[in-house]
């Protein structure tokens, strides 16, 4: 702890009395890493416990192979903690434990579904998820180590833009792009397949934040008034609109309306936060509603999704191809869980198709109950709030905007997925961050977490200026 410099003036210098009457205390932020260590150990314990409960629930005995794999992941996470101590000692203490719990619960549930299917080895989604988690954690550590100051990203915003577009276009390329479940989102190289669109959202968030910060003044103040709303000049908004429209088109042609919705929301929120103009929100939401309506009329599968949302229990819609069967089975799973849940390994989550990815939340809801779902929602909310905190407490606008953008993307994604599964909105096919099976999604979300940790480290690192009134005796106030 550095000593507090004492700038008390000497009696002999009356000019400096005023300045010296301000006693500056440099306060170094408290060490958070110990708190994080405690929470992380607890989180790893929860993860191990979940896997053990799954094993006990399904077969009645523990199997140490999988438990030790989870233990190895735990060691890797402790490695990330050590990395944080070294390169980001003032980062937020809650983020890593939260995503450890979420990721671990996802792994436990995917593993449980494997046991129900009788899959093992490389076939089992659970083992693959663990491997992808390890890869994601390593990449997150790499991001933390390589990016020492987030302002670097602002300089590379156009690189981010290009890479975002490239990532989006990759699945459209003939050789490596493939169609899965009707959507052209995947790239397959050998045995590995990943969704570039997931990483694309990180790149575009960086680009939006970077561009909006530099252009925010001209965006919000310069421009023409049409219909009582301020519209910026084309040259200011142009680049960003072009990028955004291109992403939208690419996504719509790839039939991934969920990610399109995500990007749209991200764009709108960052635009609003950067410029402060609520007219944008109004315009944007109107455009979205019109677009959604048109899409549901023109695109048959979107119309099908809306039908399934509105009238899920109708026997015709239930039995139809691409109908509400999956949604209804997910709801049955939730209902079976009730408040307390059936217990890990004791329910039948495997009845719902694609329970390890789209419906991981239904599977968790069935086995962990409403209590479990509330806990998961609470963890997500806490994670998002830590990101928003960067927005509130940050010093530079780029960092604040990026933090808010990344946190909002997670929040919106959680809402879209869980809302779809619980019939708040129609289903879209997005994945639940950290929980669902999917390597690309894990990698992208862990990178988001790493960026948030880096941002929070910077926020904390700036010393807070505390101004105290002079309390020396004899000095006139």
């Amino acid at each position: 702890m550095p000593a507090s410099p004492d700038l008390t003036a000497t009696q002999a210098n009356p000019v400096s009395t005023f300045t010296s009457s301000i006693r500056l205390k440099l306060r170094v932020p408290a060490r958070l890493r110990n708190l994080e260590l405690v929470l992380l150990v607890l989180a790893i314990g929860i993860d191990l416990g979940a896997i053990a409960l799954v094993q006990l629930g399904v077969s009645g005995e523990l199997e140490f192979g999988v438990l030790s794999l989870m233990g190895a992941l735990g060691v890797l996470l402790l490695g990330m903690h050590v990395a944080l101590r070294l390169v980001a000692p003032d980062a937020d203490a809650l983020i890593l434990p939260i995503i450890t719990v979420l990721n671990g619960l996802g792994i436990a549930m995917i593993y449980r579904l494997d046991l129900g299917d009788g899959a093992s080895g490389w076939d089992s989604a659970g083992i693959r998820q663990m491997v992808w988690t390890a890869i994601a954690v390593v990449l997150a550590i790499a991001v933390l180590v390589v990016i020492r100051n987030h302002r670097v990203l602002q300089r590379y915003r156009y690189v981010a833009m290009l890479s975002g577009i490239v990532l989006l276009i990759l699945p459209m390329l003939p050789l490596i792009g493939t169609v899965k479940n009707g959507a052209r989102l995947w790239v397959e190289i050998g045995p590995f397949s990943f969704q570039p669109g997931e990483l694309g959202k990180v790149a575009l968030a960086v680009f939006f934040a970077g561009y909006l910060v530099t252009a925010r003044d001209s965006l919000s103040m310069v421009g023409r008034r049409i219909l009582g709303m301020q519209f910026p000049r084309a040259r200011d908004l142009g680049p960003i609109l072009v990028v955004f429209a291109a992403s939208m088109l690419v996504l719509i042609f790839q039939r991934d309306l969920g990610t399109a919705l995500l990007y749209f929301g991200l764009f709108l929120v960052m635009l609003y936060v950067a410029t402060g103009r609520s007219s944008w929100i109004v315009l944007g939401l109107t455009l979205f509603v019109v677009g959604a309506f048109v899409a549901s009329r023109l695109l048959s599968y979107v119309g099908g999704r809306v039908d399934a949302w509105l009238d899920a229990f109708n026997p015709e819609i239930y039995d139809a191809r691409g109908g509400s069967y999956q949604l209804v089975q997910g709801l049955f799973g939730f209902a079976d869980g009730g408040i307390l849940g059936t217990g890990l390994g004791r329910g039948s989550p495997g009845i719902t198709p694609l329970a390890e990815s789209d419906y991981i939340v239904s599977a968790l809801g069935e086995e962990l109950g409403l209590i479990g779902i509330f806990a998961i929602l609470g963890l997500y909310l806490l994670f998002v709030s830590r990101g928003f905190r960067i927005g509130f407490a940050g010093q530079d606008d780029f960092g604040r905007l990026l933090g808010v953008g990344l946190a909002f993307v997670i929040a919106l994604q959680v809402f879209v997925v869980i809302g779809g599964v619980t019939r708040v909105i129609p289903l879209t096919g997005l994945t639940t961050p950290f929980l669902a099976a999917g390597g690309s999604s894990l990698v992208a979300n862990w990178i988001i977490a790493a960026l948030l940790l880096r941002l929070s480290d910077t926020v904390r690192n700036q010393p807070l200026l505390v101004v105290e009134p002079d309390s020396r005796p004899g000095v006139n106030a």
Binding site: A335, G391, R400, V404, A411, T422
Partner: protein, 484 residues
């Protein structure tokens, strides 16, 4: 920026609140209706994870669940399936259950209200309760004896202890093997079931108390005689003209005795003789005099027109509620639209054997929870007083005479007074007869009441006799009981 941030935070919070609400709606408010939806297979699977309780006869399981390797976790096994099929019924995965498997399903599956505390306990320990064990009143020796005695005939045998109502044997043929319906392959089960259903001999019916009931024929004379005695206006010696032919009013049909002549010798014939020799004409005359309402009342007192639960649910035996003169005559000897089950006719004999009081017939001895605490124990219960003590002892004597010197002679057992009544019931004009016997022994201290029906004429069309076919069957069952 802060103002905007605050607004965005509020929006995010609202989004999450929507999620908290939607999940609560699904998992708490709508949970019951979602669970009850027919398309929800999870509720069904949950029932499979409890080990269903066994059904026991004399302490030995005749139906029990063994651990199985598949997703349904347990396999129901029936030892000696066809013998006990009418009693146990069948248990399928999702095509329904019958018999005791159905009637006592909540006890066997561990979900009855009496096992509520067990269920709470298992909620805390996280284990599913085992079902309770059901011990039946059936005596395996007598059940086997009845099965052997019925041989290849289509029909049913029921044996009941008149002092307590405990059912000692319940045999119905043709029968089926419930193991075939308990397999874990729904398609195979449906095929087997359809085959059984389409079988014209009707193996799925428990003929002791359900299915297409037969007319009781002359065994119904017991009811008419009892009605006469109960009215106070007749005794066993009340006489009627001894005709060889009796024209049926309002028709050209003629009522005849089985002997095709008069009922014994003499110009008049008593009720006692008419019962002993099982003559139709005296009873037709008696029935006309009594009127159908009196007979109806007496029949209802015996349990006709009423379904009872043993706990298997019986099909009502029928005495029509309104009859005209010719039909009253026909009903007096158990024809017209009178229908009875062996259980019903056994209850008639039970009244006579038990001083006029019918004890409630019952299959279940006790229900015991997995940790051996009794949940339910059977205590004998009076079903109804059907006739007075006096009438009962008179009727008992008449039935003894029917066996010792009457037409039910094949029911005689050396050294034992056997009371019995045979019956040969006509179905359609050219259809095979239904052959009956009901009785009890020893007459002075009855240990068992038996009722036998052999359908389809015993394979002999209209040539089989009730003394030749069902009476020996009844005798063998009585002997089995008495030799214990």
């Amino acid at each position: 920026m802060n103002k905007e941030l605050k607004r965005v935070s509020t929006v995010v919070l609202l989004l999450f609140i929507a999620l908290f609400v939607s999940t609560t709606v699904i998992q708490v408010l709508a949970a019951d209706s979602l669970k009850a939806d027919a398309r929800n297979s999870r509720t069904l699977y949950a029932s499979y994870s409890a080990q269903r309780g066994p059904i026991l006869v004399d302490g030995q399981p005749i139906a029990y669940s063994e651990a199985a390797d598949d997703q349904y976790k347990f396999q129901r096994i029936y030892s000696n399936g066809p013998l006990y099929a009418p009693v146990t019924g069948y248990l399928t995965l999702n095509q329904g259950n019958t018999g005791i498997e159905s009637a006592l399903n909540s006890y066997l599956s561990g979900t009855s209200n009496n096992q509520f505390l067990d269920q709470v306990n298992s909620l805390l320990t996280g284990q599913t309760p085992k079902g309770a064990a059901v011990e039946l009143t059936i005596d395996p020796v007598i059940q086997q004896a009845a099965w052997d005695a019925l041989g290849d005939y289509q029909g049913a045998v029921i044996a009941i202890d008149p002092a307590t109502g405990a059912i000692l044997a319940m045999v119905s043929k043709p029968t089926f093997d419930p193991n075939l319906l308990a397999v874990h392959d729904t398609n195979a089960v449906i095929d087997t079931y359809n085959t059984l259903l389409e079988d014209p001999t009707g193996p799925l019916f428990n003929r002791t108390l359900a299915g297409a009931l037969d007319p009781p024929g002359s065994t119904f004379k017991l009811v008419v005689a009892a009605a006469a005695l109960e009215s106070g206006q007749y005794t066993a010696d009340s006489a009627f003209p001894n005709l060889s032919e009796l024209p049926l009013p309002q028709s050209s049909s003629i009522v005849r005795n089985a002997s095709q002549g008069t009922c014994g010798s003499g110009d008049t014939v008593t009720i006692a003789t008419a019962l002993r020799l099982s003559c139709n004409i005296p009873f037709a005359e008696l029935g006309s005099e009594l009127g159908y309402r009196t007979i109806l009342e007496q029949a209802n007192a015996f349990g006709f027109n009423e379904s009872i639960s043993v706990p298997l649910t019986s099909t009502q035996s029928v005495y029509p509620r309104v009859l005209d003169a010719p039909r009253t005559m026909l009903s007096s000897f158990g024809q017209d639209e009178v229908r009875a089950s062996p259980l019903q006719m056994a209850m008639v004999s039970m009244a006579i054997a038990n001083g006029g009081e019918i004890m409630r017939p019952n299959l279940v001895e006790s229900i015991v929870s997995p940790d051996l605490t009794p949940i339910e124990t059977f205590t004998p219960e009076v079903f109804r007083r059907a006739i007075s003590q006096q009438t009962a002892s008179t009727m008992a004597q008449l039935m003894v005479d029917a066996v010792s010197t009457g037409v039910a002679s094949n029911a005689r057992i050396d050294g034992v007074e056997v009371a019995g009544k045979t019956g040969t019931a006509q179905n359609g004009e050219d259809d095979p007869y239904s052959l009956w016997f009901t009785g009890f022994a020893p007459a002075n201290d009855p240990k068992v009441v038996v009722a036998v029906v052999v359908q389809n004429g015993g394979g002999l069309g209209q040539n089989g006799g009730s003394n030749e076919i069902p009476a020996p069957i009844g005798r063998k069952v009585l002997e089995a009981v008495l030799s214990q």
